[in-house]
Amino acid sequence: MTTLDHHASVRPVPNPSKSLITKLNMGTGLVVGVIFALATYYGLGGDSAGVFENYNRTLLATMFMWSIGFMVGIGAFIGPFRWLVGKDLTDEEQLYLAGDGQGIKRYFKYCTDHKVVGIQYMVGVMALLGVGGTMAMMIRTNLIQPGSKFVGPTIYNSLVGLHGITMIIAMIIVVTGPFGNFIMPIMIGAADMAFPRLNALSWWVLFTAIPVLCSAWFLGGIPTGWTAYAPLSIQAGPGMNAFIATIIIFAVSTAVAGANITATVVAMRAKGMKWNRVPIFVVGATMSVALAIPAFPTFMVSMIMTGLDRSYATTFFDANLGGSGWLYAHLFWIMGHPEVYVILIPGVAVLMEIAPVFVRKPLFSYNAAIAGFAGITGLSILVWAHHMYMSGWMPMLNGPFMVTTEMISVPTGLIFLVILGTLWRGRPWMKLPMLGVYAFLWNFLIGGITGLYLSDVPADNYLHGSMYVTAHFHYTLMGAALTGALAGLAYWFPKMTGRMLNERAGYISFWLVQIGFQVLFLGMFIAGAEGQPRRVADYSVNFATSDLISSIGAYMIGLGMIVLLWAVIHSWRHGKIAPMNPWGSKTLEWTVPYPVPLVNFDTPPVVTSDPYGYGKAGN
C-alpha cells in the first residue's frame, strides 16, 4: 500500500490514461446494483414463489446481489482484480482514487481520501439519526395516550424494530465513522489510513445496507424489535430478510473498518508518538473498534442461521428439531453486550479529549483512563448472559454473570474520576463542547446507577423486559454516547467544514435536547417501575400519566434536533470562518489548515510529548 505525498510545484491534471476507474461513480454503482438485483429477483422467480422458504431465498439473494452489484459498479473490485493479475494500480490511478482535484464529485465516488470518507460517514450518520429519530417521534405519538390510535400495533411493532436497528447502526458509527476517519489519522500525524481502499470499501458497503434496511418498510416491516429473537424472527414475514441482509452487510463493513482503524493507529503514528503520548480519543476509538472486530461476527453467525432457518428450513432455532431460541440469545448478546461499549467508549473518549482543552488542565490520570477503557473492554465479553437472567436458560449461572456485570462498575467509576479530576480546580470554558461534558456526567450517572438495579438478579425479576430497561439504555447510549458525539461535532466542526457552528442555535438545541431527554426518560423510568412492559403498542390507563410525560419530552428532543440540523446546515454554508485552532488545543489536527491538504502534513510531524501539556509549570 502507498501513501500520497506532495511537493510544492505545479499541479498536473491527473489523467490516469482513460482507465476504467475514471468512469465509475455512485451512479454506475446504482445502475449495476439495480440490474444485479432485478436479474436475481426475476431469475429466481420473483414473487411468484409461493412457498415461504423459496420467497425468502429470493429476497435474500436479491439483497446481497444488490450490494455486490453496487460494489462492482462503483469499482470496488478493480483493486483486488488488478492485484490478482499483478498489474497494481499506477501512481496516477491512486491519485485519481484519492479524489485529487475533483471537488464535490469525489464525495460520490469510490474515494480513498480519509477526509472524504469522514464527511461521507457524517452525512450518512445524520441521515440515519434523522430517520431513526422520526421513528422515535412516531413511537411516542402512538403512546401519547392509551388505545394505540396513531399507527396501530402492526406498524408500531415495525417502528420499534426499525427505530432500534437504525439507531444502533447509527450509534456504532457516529463517532468512529466521521471523527475516526476524518480526524483520527491527522491526530496521530498520519498521511492517510493504513488501507485507503478498504476505507472507501467500509463506507460504500455500509451505504448499500441503507436501501436494504429501508426495503423492510415495503416488505411488511420487522415485527421483532432490533434484538430479532428467534423463533419470532423465523415466524416473521418477508421484511425480516431485510434485517438479516442489513446486519450481514453491516458486519462486513464493521470488520473492515475495525481492522483498518486499528492497523492505522498501531502502524502509522507520527514519529515520537509513543503509546503514552497517544491522545485519549484515539485510544478510546481504537479500543472500541478493536472490540468490535471479534464481537460482530457472532451476530453475523446468528443472522446467517436465521436466514438459513427461514430460507432453507434448517433447525437452528426450532426447538421441535433440536434447535433453541436460547442459542440465538447467546450469539446475539455475545455480540450485543460488547457492542454497547463499542458505542459508549468512543463517545466518552471524545469528552475526555474535550475536557482538558476547555479547562486548560492536563487530562487527570491518563493511566486511569486507559485502565477504565481496558477494564470495560475486557469485562464486556464476560457479561452477555445478564440479558438472559429471565430466559431460564440456566438459572444457576445467573450468580456468576451478576458478579462480572457489577464488576464493570469499577472501571466505569474510573471514567468519572478522570473527567472529574480534569475539571477539578479548573475554570471550565463553557463552550458548546464543554456543556456536553456536564450533560454526560449527569446522564451517565443515572444510566450507570439504574444499570446497577438491572444487573442484580432479584431486582431484574421485576424490571426485566419493562420500560425501565428502555429508559436505562437510552440514558447510556443516548444520554452518554450521543451527547459525546454531539460534543465532538461542535468541537471538530471547524476543522471538518472550515466554519464555526452557530453558537446560539447550538445552545438552544443543547438545552431543548437535554431537558427533553430528562423529561422523556424520567417518565419512562416511572412507567417501567409501575410495571409497563417495553415494546407495547398499547397500555392500560394507569400508565397514562407517565407515558404522556415521556411523549412531551420526546417532542422537546425532536424540536432540539431540528434546531441542531438547521444549525449544522446553515453553519456549513454560511457560518463564521473558523481560525486554524479556535479552541487552543494541542492535538495535531489543529496544526493543519482548512481545507486539509490531501496528505495532511507538509512535513511529517514529530511528537515530543502528549497533547495535555496545559497548566502552570511543575506539578
Binding site: 502507498t2 510544492a8 491519485l95 471479534p294 457472532t298 453475523m300 433440536g322
Partner: protein, 204 residues
C-alpha cells in the same frame, strides 16, 4: 495553498507496508476466528441441549468423522506447500501454482460434499419443491461446511494472486515477499480453523 501544490505518490518502505498489510490481515483473521468460534459454540450448545431429542431426530442420518477430515486435508496440504514454496526462494513461482491447484481440488470436494448431504428432507408444497433439514446436527454440519467453502474461495483467490504475481518482474521483491507471508498467515489460519471444525464434527 494546496492549489499550487504538486502531488505525487510516495511509497513507504516496502517492509513497513508489508508489515502493515499483515497486521490488517491478522485483524481480519481475528474477526473470522470469532465467526468460527460462534459456529463451534453453536454446535456444542445444541448438542448438549438436545432439545426435545432433536439433535439427531429418530431416523436421522449422521456423517462419519472422516467426511469432515477429507475436506480439511487440502487446506493442510496447501498451507504446507505454500510454506515450502516460500522456503525455496526463487522456486516460489514453480511451487505456488500447486498450492492453488490443491485449494481448487479442496473446493471441489467441499462443494460435492455440500451438494450430496444425506440430511435433506424433500417435500412439496403449493406445487413447488421445498426441502428441509433433519435436525440441529444436520443444520450445524451444513453451516460449518459452508464456512469451510468460503475459506477455500478466499484461499484460492489469494493463492492464485501470489502465484501470478511471482511470475512478474516489475514488482518490488521485498514487498512481494511480505505479501507471500501475509498470504501464508491466511492459509495457516484456514487450515487451523478447518482442523477445529473437523474435530468438532467428529464429536457427534
Amino acid at each position: 495553498m494546496s492549489g499550487d501544490t504538486r502531488f505525487h505518490v510516495h511509497h513507504d518502505a516496502p517492509i513497513q507496508v508489508g508489515r502493515r498489510e499483515r497486521l490488517g490481515v491478522r485483524l481480519l483473521i481475528v474477526a473470522d476466528g470469532a465467526f468460527v468460534f460462534g459456529m463451534i459454540f453453536s454446535y456444542f450448545y445444541l448438542r448438549n441441549l438436545n432439545a426435545n431429542n432433536g439433535w439427531i431426530p429418530e431416523g436421522g442420518h449422521t456423517l462419519s468423522a472422516m467426511s469432515g477430515w477429507v475436506s480439511v486435508f487440502p487446506l493442510i496440504i496447501a498451507a504446507i506447500t505454500h510454506r515450502i514454496a516460500m522456503k525455496s526462494g526463487n522456486a516460489f513461482k514453480n511451487i505456488a501454482p500447486i498450492t492453488f491447484v490443491v485449494l481448487l481440488v479442496g473446493l471441489y470436494l467441499q462443494w460435492k460434499q455440500l451438494a450430496h448431504m444425506p440430511f435433506q428432507v424433500d417435500g412439496e408444497a403449493e406445487g413447488e419443491k421445498i426441502f428441509g433439514f433433519e435436525g440441529a446436527y444436520a443444520s450445524s454440519w451444513v453451516l460449518i461446511a459452508g464456512a469451510n467453502m468460503f475459506h477455500y474461495i478466499l484461499g484460492a483467490f489469494v493463492a492464485l494472486g501470489v502465484a501470478l504475481r511471482s511470475r512478474r518482474n516489475d514488482l518490488n521483491a521485498v514487498l512481494e515477499f511480505w505479501r507471500q507471508r501475509t498470504v501464508g498467515s491466511w492459509l495457516t489460519w484456514i487450515a487451523i480453523s478447518g482442523i477445529a471444525c473437523a474435530i468438532t464434527t467428529s464429536i457427534i
